[in-house]
Amino acid sequence: MTFDYRRRILGYADRVRARPGETIDFKISLEDHESFEFRTVRMVCGVETPEGAPYREVAVETPANGLHEGSSQRIDAGSYAVIPAAPVLDRLSSFTFQAFIMPTLPGDGRQVIISRGSGPGRPGFAVILDAAGALALMIGGGQDLITVSTGRPLQPWKWVFVAASYDAANGSVTLSQEPLIHTGESSSPMCIAGHAPSGVVFAADHDLHMAAWQTGWHEDGKPRMVGHFNGRIDSPRLASRVLEGHEMAALARSGPTSADWVVGAWDFAANISGDTFPDRSGNTLHGHLVNLPSRGVTGRQWDGSCHDWRECPDHYAAIHFHDDDLFDAGWRTTVSMTVPGSLASGIYAAHCRAGDDTCHIPFLVVPGRGAPRERVAFLASTATWLAYANNHWQLDEEKAEVKRGRIIAYSPDELFLHERRDLGLSTYDTHRDGSGVFYSSRLRPLVNNYSPQSAIWSFNADTHVTDWLEASGIGFDIVSDEDIHEDGVAALADYRVIITGTHPEYWSTDMLDALAAYFDRGGRLMYLGGNGFYWRIACHPVRGGEAIEVRRPESGARFWASRPGEYHLSFNGERGGLWKHIGRPPQSLVGVGTFATGFDRSGWFVKKPGIDDNPRASWIFEGVEGDIIGDFGVLGSGAAGIELDGADEALGTPPDTIVLASSDGHSAYYMQSPDEIVFNHAAVTADANPRVRADMVYFALPSGAGVFSTGSISWAASLGWNGYDNNVARITGNVLRRFAADAALP
């Protein structure tokens, strides 16, 4: 019997949250099944643990429930550019194509730089890197397809000027490749001549593509794209005749040009935050991008003198394409569900089942506009869930075991993700060429970290908070990161208390501003997590929270590092990175910020001496005996673990903050976060370093606001211990009751 980890039912929703009356479209794909059962469930606890709260979902009535038909749906991963068919392209006979390129995986299969479709009976052309990584021109179609190659492979991650021309009059082909830096024989410039049939007539009415080749159409009407390019393209130009060297040089330098032989002069330095790029030739051959290739990356002109693409776009006139980029899977809708008014605000999922195969697609119901609100709202960290979704780092990262301090045990979902690379990557991963992943989209199946029944992380871990709220009989609404991003402080203002999940790590500027404004209005926050308010993100400028972007500059707990000159987000131009380095450390907002991480087993908290005699703080520990808190739990067996945040006045912890307790009991695999270390030393581990700890803090502000922070990811995983009767739950409940009341805070 072979262990079966393959998923034969997958899906996603077009939105992450909806108000009653709004419609969510679910997109399901089936393998080896023809129908599936759709059940709407309320997610109570997303993960089964031997000693914690049991896994629990509760069926709810919606009109979408029932048996639905379905079929297999395909994912077309890999980014590329499309220039729609135009008469000026149909007139092309002789031509020259030129561009600066930086291939990142030359020699890894045939990769296309520019192409105009080809197939039997539809002659076309493509400028490519051949299987060996050498520049080549393919011309013709079907049996008559001719390939001329320079035969000299290009070097990875090096800029090179490439040009290919075809003279229809005599069939002569010229190819040249000129590396911008010559370091020896293998990178010396070369130019070769070859032959193709004369007078090839290219098929008309065909789109022009960069970074891929269209070989036809799928049955569903989508183009069949192959030969995805891995690497950067800068200043691509197309001319309607064979160009001399000096003409190519002039065309490479000048963007707009009025010469009548210029067919296309594409400007990748324009509209960097968007999915389109203009043609400066006057032929209006404007193009658009598919599957979010990386923009805001350094081009061949970048010289280190400028770091913000908004100030010197010419330095950023490159687009980085990857064959594993993915934005919108574009699946057809299988089930449409209008959220019934009977559904209270909460965390839900579409539980789909076909035979023994199941999948959960989570969604949030948020209160309708103008509908009555609870006093308490749980903030669903949808941005963080998305940043972690489809995470492969344990699979692709060579040092995963060294970092974890344990043998890595993979879940079935990880085995499946390892094989199904077309499902796209998380912002913790690298692309196949080693470059960091900037973007994560929720318009694709999200197999881990964004669905129940996987590891205790992100979505699952956060349900430990809502599970406890429910078990405690405390009413709450749901607010998501996307609500805050879109509606600002208005999304929060009606609530007395906002409770975070275990790991509210990713914040856009709009989100952080909204939280600060909430405090100004006297709002109260319970930050029940660790490593929060850490990275800056941006949402897609047009499609909002459907895709987020993150950059990983100089330092921070990260699994890849941004390249020099690439610290600014393409979606909005802001400088990315740690909020600490942007000037808004988490301590200045919630009293604590990332100090340390560790993943083997968790520690516990120890009350500060005399805290029970402090009238401003003693109410928090009412009913708690002894000094040790949370020496139990289902995430590393303790309430202080995984990622730990500490207080530091130098980083902005408000002066009147009370440190209630600090953590202890951490192993030598708990270490200071890289952004905490200015110069290397050996004493970065918990056994030697007093800053490897979490601080539990409380403070009140003159506005009436109050903040309680645990600074530990594993805190919430201890709430359900012993049937919710434990000191972690007791403390959390004490704070929540006091915060939710109208009375001023001590």
Binding site: Y5, G405, S411, E419, R601, A668
Partner: protein, 103 residues
């Protein structure tokens, strides 16, 4: 670079007794060497029954290539799995099976 001393079977014994630590400084050095292995062929576990059963597996070192499962090597306790892989690695580094050597 630290090298594992085949004669220090006491360190293997320490690990067998307490696979999840805290470990002595010397054993920690052994573990650092063992865990710093290339990804191709690296021993890992696959959780076949949640919280209850794991099987031995090896990483292919290449994206998209299935992980090799050794479904005949099954564990019901993660500590036992740690010890099993520790033995394989100790033997690879020293040529000696610590389980036999310590008897």
């Amino acid at each position: 670079m630290y090298r594992i001393d085949p004669g220090r079977t006491d360190l293997a014994e320490e690990f067998r007794r307490n696979p999840f630590g805290p470990h002595s400084a010397e054993l920690q050095k052994v573990l650092n060497v063992m865990r710093w292995e290339p990804i191709e062929g690296k021993y890992v576990l696959v959780n076949t029954v949640p919280h209850k059963e794991w099987c031995l597996a090896q990483l292919p070192g290449k994206r998209g290539v299935p992980v090799t499962l050794h479904e005949d090597v099954v564990f019901t306790d993660l500590g036992e799995a740690e010890w099993y892989i520790f033995r394989l690695r100790w033997k690879k580094h020293t040529g000696v099976d610590p389980d036999q050597a310590s008897q």
